[in-house]
C-alpha cells in the first residue's frame, strides 16, 4: 500500500470507530427534546468530565495552538493560561447556574436570561448572538478537518472535498445520536488525543534535535525573540496577553454549549469537583507547544501556521502514525463540532423561533425545526470555511469577543438583585456593537488591548450603571 493509502485508511478507520460508538450510545433511548439536549439531566461526574473535556480539546488546541506557537511564538502561551483560569472561574459560577437551572427546569443559556430577566426579546437576542458567534467556532473545526484530511492524504484530497465529506458525516452523527452519543465518543477521542499529544510532543523534538532541551536551546539561539511576547507579531504584548486571558477565561463557560453542559450534571458538587481536576488536563497543551516550537526550525516557511503540526509529523514519522495522529485530530474536530451544531440548532428552534414566531409549537415540532437547523448550520459553516482563510486561533478569538458579552448579564443576574433587563440588554448591545465595529475595521487589538475585552468593559459599566438607575423590574 502507498503511504497515502495507509494514512487515509487509518484516519477513516478511527472516524468509523468513533461514529459507531456514537450511534450505539444513542440507539436504545427514546429521543425526546430533553434527552437529546441535556441527556435527561442525569450525567455523573465521569460523563460530565468527558463531555466538558470533549468540548474543550478541539482541533483548536491541536492544530491552532501549535500553529500559533509556530507562527506567532510567545503570544500562544495565552492559551495555556486562559484554559487553566477558565476552570477557576467555573468553580465559582457553574454551581449557582446549575442550582437555578434545576429549580426552573432550564435547558439552554437563553432560558436562563428569559427566567432571570423575564424578557423574551433579551432571551432571543442572547440566542441570536450565541448562534452567530458559534459559527466561527464551527468553521474552525471544519477548516481543521479539511487540513487534517488533505495533509494526511499527502495532498491527494483537496481541502474543499475533505471539508464537504466531514460535514456530511458530522450532520449524520448529530442527527442520530444527540448529546449522549457525543459524550461517549469523547472517551475514544480523549484517549487518542492525549496519547497523540504526548507522543508527538516528546517524539518530534527528540527526532529532530535529540531532545526538548536542545530544541529550545537551538530555537532561542536562532530566533531569540520568538519565545517571549510579542514574539513574531508587532502588537501582541503583555497588555494584549492580560486582556485576552481575562476575556477568554471569563467567556469560556459563556459559550452556549458549555453553559448548557452545566445542566447535564447530577449535582452542583459534581461541577465543583470537576473544576478542581480540569486544569490538570491543560498539561496536554505543553506537549502540543513542544511540537509547534520544534516546527519553527524543522519545517520553516509554511504559509499557514495551522499546517505546522501535521507537516512536521509527516516529515518525522511513518505514514501509519501520521494516520493515527490525523484520526485523533479528526475526532477532536468532529466531537466538538457535533456539540456546537446540536446546541446552536436547539437554541435557534427553542429560544428564537418558537417564542418569537410560533408560540403554539409543540416540543415535537421544535425538535423537528432543531434537526432541520442542524443541516442549515453545517452548510453555512462549510461555506465560510471554504471561502475564508483566517488562522484557527483568530477564529476562536472572534467567537470569544462575541460570547463573553453574556458574562455581565449572567454574573450580575446571579448575585445582584438590582440587575435589570433593560440595563443588561443595553450593555450587551453596546458590547457586541463595539466588538463588531472593531473587528470589521480591523482594529483588533486596539492600542494593544483585545477588542473583545474593550467591549466587555463597556458592556459591564453600562449594565451596572443603568441597573442602578432602573428599578429591578426594569421601570425607570
Amino acid at each position: 500500500m502507498s503511504a497515502r493509502a495507509v494514512s487515509l485508511a487509518m484516519i477513516l478507520g478511527i472516524i468509523a470507530l468513533g461514529s459507531a460508538i456514537g450511534f450505539l450510545a444513542g440507539a436504545r433511548r427514546k429521543m425526546d427534546l430533553e434527552q437529546w439536549t441535556v441527556g435527561g439531566r442525569g450525567f455523573g461526574a465521569a460523563l460530565v468530565y468527558l463531555l466538558m473535556a470533549g468540548e474543550v480539546y478541539t482541533t483548536f488546541a491541536f492544530l491552532g495552538a501549535s500553529g500559533w506557537a509556530y507562527s506567532r511564538g510567545g503570544p500562544a502561551l495565552y492559551i495555556m493560561a486562559y484554559l487553566t483560569l477558565a476552570y477557576v472561574v467555573s468553580f465559582f459560577i457553574l454551581p449557582p447556574i446549575w442550582e437555578v437551572g434545576r429549580k426552573y427546569g432550564l435547558q439552554t443559556q437563553s432560558d436562563f436570561f428569559r427566567m432571570r430577566y423575564g424578557s423574551k426579546y433579551l432571551a432571543a437576542f442572547v440566542c441570536a448572538v450565541g448562534v452567530a458567534f458559534l459559527i466561527p467556532y464551527l468553521q474552525l473545526q471544519i477548516t481543521g478537518l479539511g487540513i487534517i484530511v488533505s495533509i494526511a492524504s499527502f495532498d491527494g484530497i483537496g481541502r474543499t472535498p475533505a471539508m464537504a465529506i466531514s460535514v456530511a458525516l458530522l450532520t449524520a452523527f448529530v442527527l442520530a445520536g444527540g448529546v449522549r452519543a457525543v459524550a461517549w465518543v469523547s472517551v475514544l477521542k480523549d484517549i487518542l488525543m492525549v496519547v497523540a499529544a504526548v507522543a508527538i510532543g516528546i517524539g518530534i523534538p527528540y527526532i529532530r534535535f535529540s531532545g526538548i532541551g536542545p530544541m529550545f536551546a537551538a530555537l532561542a539561539r536562532a530566533r531569540p525573540a520568538h519565545l517571549t511576547m510579542p514574539g513574531a507579531t508587532p502588537n501582541l504584548g503583555h497588555t494584549w496577553f492580560i486582556s485576552t486571558v481575562l476575556l477568554t477565561s471569563l467567556g469560556f463557560y459563556m459559550w452556549p454549549h458549555a453553559f448548557a453542559s452545566t445542566f447535564t450534571a447530577k449535582s452542583a458538587g459534581t461541577l465543583r469537583r470537576n473544576a478542581v481536576l480540569m486544569p490538570l488536563y491543560t498539561i496536554t497543551l505543553a506537549f502540543i507547544f513542544f511540537a509547534g516550537f520544534t516546527a519553527v526550525l524543522a519545517a520553516p516557511g509554511l504559509a499557514n501556521g495551522d499546517l505546522a503540526l501535521l507537516t512536521v509529523v509527516r516529515k518525522s514519522f511513518s505514514a501509519w502514525f501520521l494516520g493515527l495522529i490525523g484520526g485523533a485530530g479528526a475526532l477532536t474536530a468532529m466531537v466538538p463540532a457535533a456539540v456546537f451544531t446540536l446546541t446552536a440548532a436547539t437554541l435557534f428552534a427553542k429560544n428564537l423561533w418558537r417564542p418569537i414566531f410560533a408560540p403554539e409549537m409543540t416540543d415535537d415540532q421544535v425538535a423537528r425545526v432543531a434537526r432541520l437547523s442542524v443541516v442549515v448550520l453545517s452548510l453555512v459553516s462549510l461555506y465560510f470555511a471554504v471561502y475564508s482563510s483566517t488562522t484557527l486561533v483568530s477564529l476562536l478569538l472572534l467567537g470569544y469577543a462575541g460570547i463573553t458579552q453574556f458574562f455581565p448579564g449572567v454574573v450580575l443576574g446571579l448575585y445582584w438583585k438590582r440587575a435589570s433587563s433593560p440595563a443588561v440588554f443595553a450593555g450587551m448591545i453596546a458590547g457586541v456593537g463595539a466588538v463588531v465595529f472593531l473587528f470589521l475595521t480591523h482594529r483588533d487589538p486596539y492600542r494593544g488591548w483585545s477588542a473583545g475585552f474593550i467591549g466587555l468593559c463597556l458592556n459591564f459599566s453600562i449594565a451596572a450603571t443603568l441597573s442602578l438607575v432602573t428599578r429591578p423590574n426594569g421601570e425607570l
Binding site: 427534546l33 430533553e34 510567545g74 502561551l77 495555556m80 493560561a81 487553566t84 483560569l85 476552570y87 477557576v88 468553580f91 465559582f92 449557582p96 442550582e99 437555578v100 429549580k103 426552573y104 427546569g105 432560558d111 428569559r114 427566567m115 432571570r116 430577566y117 423575564g118 424578557s119 531532545g211 526538548i212 532541551g213 536542545p214 529550545f216 536551546a217 532561542a220 519565545l227 517571549t228 511576547m229 503583555h238 496577553f241 492580560i242 486571558v245 481575562l246 477565561s249 465543583r272 469537583r273 473544576a275 478542581v276 481536576l277 486544569p279 490538570l280 491543560t282 498539561i283 505543553a286 507547544f289 443576574g413 446571579l414 448575585y415 445582584w416 438583585k417 433587563s421 429591578p472 423590574n473
Partner: protein, 77 residues
C-alpha cells in the same frame, strides 16, 4: 416532560455567594498566570530545558488545582 417557562421574571438572588477565603484562593492563579506576566515572560533561566515563561505556566497548572482543592474544602464546611 418539559415545563413551559413562566413569563414573569424570577429573582434568583440571593444565590449563596462564595466565601471570601475561596475567592482569595481563586484569585491566586489569576495573579500568577495573568496579571504578573511582565515578571515571568522571559526565556532564561530555562527550567529542565524549557523556557522560563512556559515552565512557569506549566508549574501553575497543578498549583491552580491545589488552590481550587483548598477552596473546595473551604466551601464544603
Amino acid at each position: 416532560m418539559r415545563r413551559r417557562l413562566p413569563e414573569k421574571r424570577h429573582d434568583v438572588t440571593p444565590v449563596k455567594p462564595p466565601s471570601r477565603g475561596a475567592l482569595v484562593l481563586g484569585l491566586i492563579p489569576f495573579g500568577a498566570m495573568c496579571f504578573s506576566v511582565a515578571l515571568w515572560d522571559r526565556v532564561d533561566p530555562m527550567i529542565l530545558g524549557i523556557p522560563f515563561n512556559l515552565a512557569w505556566l506549566i508549574l501553575w497548572i497543578p498549583l491552580s488545582t491545589l488552590c481550587l482543592w483548598a477552596a473546595y474544602r473551604l466551601e464544603r464546611k
